[in-house]
């Protein structure tokens, strides 16, 4: 029995060790294939670089992928840059502003966020921000403290209060690139690494060229028409407490640096607007806007409240190049007014 147990345990440990070494080796050599989607990795990493360096642009746009797609900074003027990170929300927004201010002066801050992410239903935080290590170890600890204050896991309220510390630890393992946090997706990564290197290289080049030429604006296709409904209007809009906490921190930072802050509601297509219009979702979003406007006099809400034609959308949520041109012009006019 003793011999059997010892052999089984040794065999198990060797298997775990070898597999862990293999996964870790691949992650450290080719993180773009093994930490998530390669294109996302390059796009996010490019944006992180811009955030952390001196750029000279004094007017910044922060937001999620709709922030990337909706506003072309070149249309707003010479001093504008789009620092949006796909899948992000006000937490990453706060980190972006804090970091950018370390090397740059900011006069104007425009925030473009899809409202659903502010409700903390997004999975991207755990698929991009954590594995791509946008935040530092101390920033992650700070977030953990905030989570303990509000007693829930960021972007996963369903995880339950009782297991908060355990869930935070599991997330930390992912942040540390522990091999077993990436075991389930390892084969997909290996598949892409073996068979899609060329395609990934082309996609990388395309993304980086687009981002550098257009200062962080992402083109979600040139010609398309999409009228799919991208909104679940039966829900009430309930902003997450942690996101509200980071909105507070953004506003404090803006006040300290005398920054004008605008919150922009990204455009929606006709079908989405039809669902949205006069829904519970719309009324609760309006309440939220009125509330923040009242609470933060420095913040100006630029609510579009209009839809753009179908041929201006690349997918249900993101405008295409025509839509960007149109919406950037609308935003520019509103900012000027």
């Amino acid at each position: 029995m003793k011999q059997f147990l010892i052999k089984t345990i040794i065999y198990f440990l060797v298997t775990v060790l070898v597999s862990g070494t293999i996964i870790y080796g691949f992650i450290s050599q080719k993180p773009e294939f093994f930490l998530g989607s390669a294109v996302d990795y390059f796009q996010c990493k490019y944006q992180y670089e811009q955030i952390n360096k001196k750029t000279g642009f004094t007017n910044i746009i922060i937001g999620d992928s709709r922030g990337n797609a909706s506003i072309n900074p070149r249309q707003l003027g010479e001093k504008w840059i789009n620092l949006s990170i796909p899948g992000s929300d006000l937490f990453e927004g706060y980190i972006t502003l804090k970091r950018y201010l370390q090397h740059n002066k900011v006069d104007t801050l425009v925030m473009v966020y899809g409202m659903s992410y502010l409700s903390e239903y997004s999975r991207w935080f755990n698929l991009r921000t954590i594995p791509f290590r946008f935040i530092s170890n101390s920033e992650l600890k700070e977030l953990e403290q905030t989570e303990r204050k509000y007693n829930y896991l960021f972007h996963n309220r369903a995880a339950g209060h009782a297991t908060l510390k355990y869930d935070q630890f599991i997330r930390k393992l992912k942040y540390w690139h522990s091999p077993f946090s990436y075991r389930a997706t390892f084969l997909d990564g290996l598949n892409n690494f073996c068979f899609s290197q060329r395609e990934t290289g082309i996609a990388k080049q395309k993304v980086l060229t687009q981002l550098s030429e257009y200062r962080g604006y992402t083109n979600f296709s040139d010609a398309d028409s999409n009228n799919t409904d991208g909104i679940d209007a039966s829900l009430r809009f309930e902003p997450g407490q942690i996101n509200q906490h980071y909105l507070e921190l953004i506003m404090q930072l803006a006040a300290r640096h005398d920054i004008a802050v605008y919150l922009v509601d990204p455009p929606m297509n006709q079908a989405s607007f039809k669902t949205y219009n006069r829904s519970v979702y719309e009324s609760t979003i309006n309440q939220f806007f009125q509330g923040v406007q009242k609470k933060y006099p420095r913040l100006c809400v630029l609510q579009t409240d209009v839809w753009l034609p179908n041929n201006m959308f690349g997918d249900p949520l993101h405008v295409n190049s025509k839509g960007t041109t149109r919406f950037s012009a609308i935003t520019r006019d509103r900012l000027n007014n």
Binding site: M1, Q3, F4, K7, T8, Y11, V14, T15, V16, V18, S19, I22, R183, A184, F186, L187
Partner: protein, 473 residues
């Protein structure tokens, strides 16, 4: 609890440690622990179904005493009561809705409208297996091969032993109960053999079956738009998916039982190396086919009472076997197709031509004749699997039609290549293992490497925790 789940990976060592270190002093405690573990394992899905399992077990335990009476008339009465009880449970939970709908449709054909009440209850997992365990017990008592068990715990362990509870192998009372009634002692060779079987079973399930499942699901759901070759490849892929899935399950079950000192019945013996349909059924889901043979086919007279009765009995056994899988015409059609394949062999007295356990035992490769027989049998079995896999008869016929007529759509070579990449190593391994299915015959030095590679593959592929196909039955 699924064998391919993290929960089971924690459950198994805990029960193993308790079994050999805490409860090893007496047979009673060993059995109590196995029983508790089995109910915990089953209750992981739904505690409500545990009640049904408990009631079914208790009733068969009581019927066992009645069937064991010396008065044959009374014994027969109790036997029928037990059969009715077990078939009643199956009928209510598994077949009631099917018959109610068929009745409604038959009335509709006559121009009558009937509102039938349908049961909104999920089929309890493993119901077909544990009711068949119960029936095997009373049949064995009736035939004098088994005495009624006095200790209820022993009997309850026989019905609910967790490795075989939800998808077999369907054990015989005369085979398993004596093992339950005897204290088990740890045996290193048996336990190591068990671990190897678990690993090999997990490999077949997690690496082969689950990967092929993705391809098969995609092909069957888009069969209208795919090239005929892709549909043929899809059917072949399903043949290996179901083999990997079910034989993988059986291997894990056998291996787990070995860890606790039990030997279960072999359920698969390289079925795709069969040279005719009769041999296929001696190699595929052996515990079910032998159950039907011993408790249905032979009592009906088998093939000994003339050709006509032989034909009748063959159809009965195959149709019932098909229907056992599920209340759907497609399963009956699947059974019927196999009956049609078996019939010529029976009529020509060639159904017991290939009875050796090992194909090409003294050769490295099969002869040309053997190979062509195997390919033909496999093609027939694969054809029948289409009915088994399709959602219904219409889809099965549409799929088969597409396989011979859809030749305008583009061919998907990459998909075919992927299927080959998973199937060919499995066939090669099976061929290699066919002489001794329960242990890898590789040089001593190479063994750790082979096991390590298998374990790494299982670990890398281990993720989705998909259900075993036979859980639905």
């Amino acid at each position: 609890m699924l064998f391919n789940s993290v929960a089971f990976l924690l459950f198994l060592p805990i029960v193993f440690i308790l079994y050999w270190f805490v409860c090893n002093r007496s047979l009673r405690w060993q059995n109590v622990l196995v029983l508790m573990a089995s109910y915990f394992f089953y209750g992981w899905w739904s505690w409500k179904f545990m009640v049904l399992l408990g009631v079914s077990t208790f009733l068969d335990y009581l019927y066992g005493f009645g069937v064991g009476l010396k008065d044959r008339k009374k014994a027969r009465l109790f036997l029928w009561l037990s059969v009715l009880n077990n078939l009643g449970i199956l009928g209510v939970f598994k077949y009631y809705n099917f018959f109610a709908l068929q009745f409604q449709q038959a009335l509709a054909l006559l121009g009558l409208h009937a509102n039938v009440v349908l049961l909104q209850v999920a089929i309890p997992i493993g119901i077909s297996f544990y009711t068949f365990h119960g029936m095997s017990y009373v049949f064995d008592i009736y035939r004098g091969e088994q005495r009624p068990v006095k200790n209820f715990i022993d009997y309850a362990v026989f019905v609910s032993f967790f490795p075989l509870l939800v998808a077999g192998p369907i054990e015989r009372a005369s085979h398993l109960l004596p093992q339950i009634q005897k204290k088990r002692f740890f045996n290193y060779t048996q336990a190591a053999d068990g671990c190897r079987l678990i690993l090999w079973g997990l490999f077949k399930k997690v690496v082969i079956a689950d990967t092929l499942a993705v391809i098969v699901d995609n092909i069957f759901s888009h069969y209208h738009d795919l090239h005929g070759i892709s549909l043929v490849v899809g059917a072949i892929a399903f043949s290996f998916q179901i083999y990997g899935d079910f034989s993988g399950y059986s291997d894990i079950a056998l291996g787990t039982a070995k860890l606790f000192g039990f030997e279960l019945l072999t359920n698969f013996r390289f079925p795709y190396f069969s040279r005719d349909i009769a041999e296929f059924w001696r190699r595929w889901h052996i515990s079910l086919s032998s159950w039907f043979r011993d408790y249905l086919y032979i009592p009906l007279g088998g093939s000994k009472q003339g050709k006509l009765k032989g034909v009748r009995n063959t159809f009965i056994i195959f149709l019932v076997s098909g229907f056992w899988h599920g209340a759907n015409w497609k399963y009956i059609a699947w059974g019927g197709i196999h009956a049609c394949g078996f019939l010529p062999l029976l009529l020509l007295n060639r159904n017991r031509k290939h009875t050796s356990d090992v194909v090409a035992e003294k050769r490295k490769l099969p002869t040309g004749k053997e190979l062509s027989q195997m390919v033909l049998t496999f093609a027939f079995v694969t054809f029948a699997w289409v009915f088994f896999r399709a959602a219904d008869m219409t889809e099965a016929i549409g799929y088969l039609k597409g396989a011979v007529t859809n030749y305008k759509q583009p061919k998907d070579f990459l998909m075919c290549l992927t299927v080959c990449c998973y199937i060919i190593p499995l066939i090669a391994c099976d061929w290699w293992l066919r002489r001794n299915e329960r242990s890898l015959q590789v040089p001593q030095l190479a063994k750790p490497v082979v096991y390590l590679v298998l374990a790494l593959l299982v670990l890398f592929y281990f993720g989705k925790q998909t259900n075993f196909i036979y859980f639905q039955f």
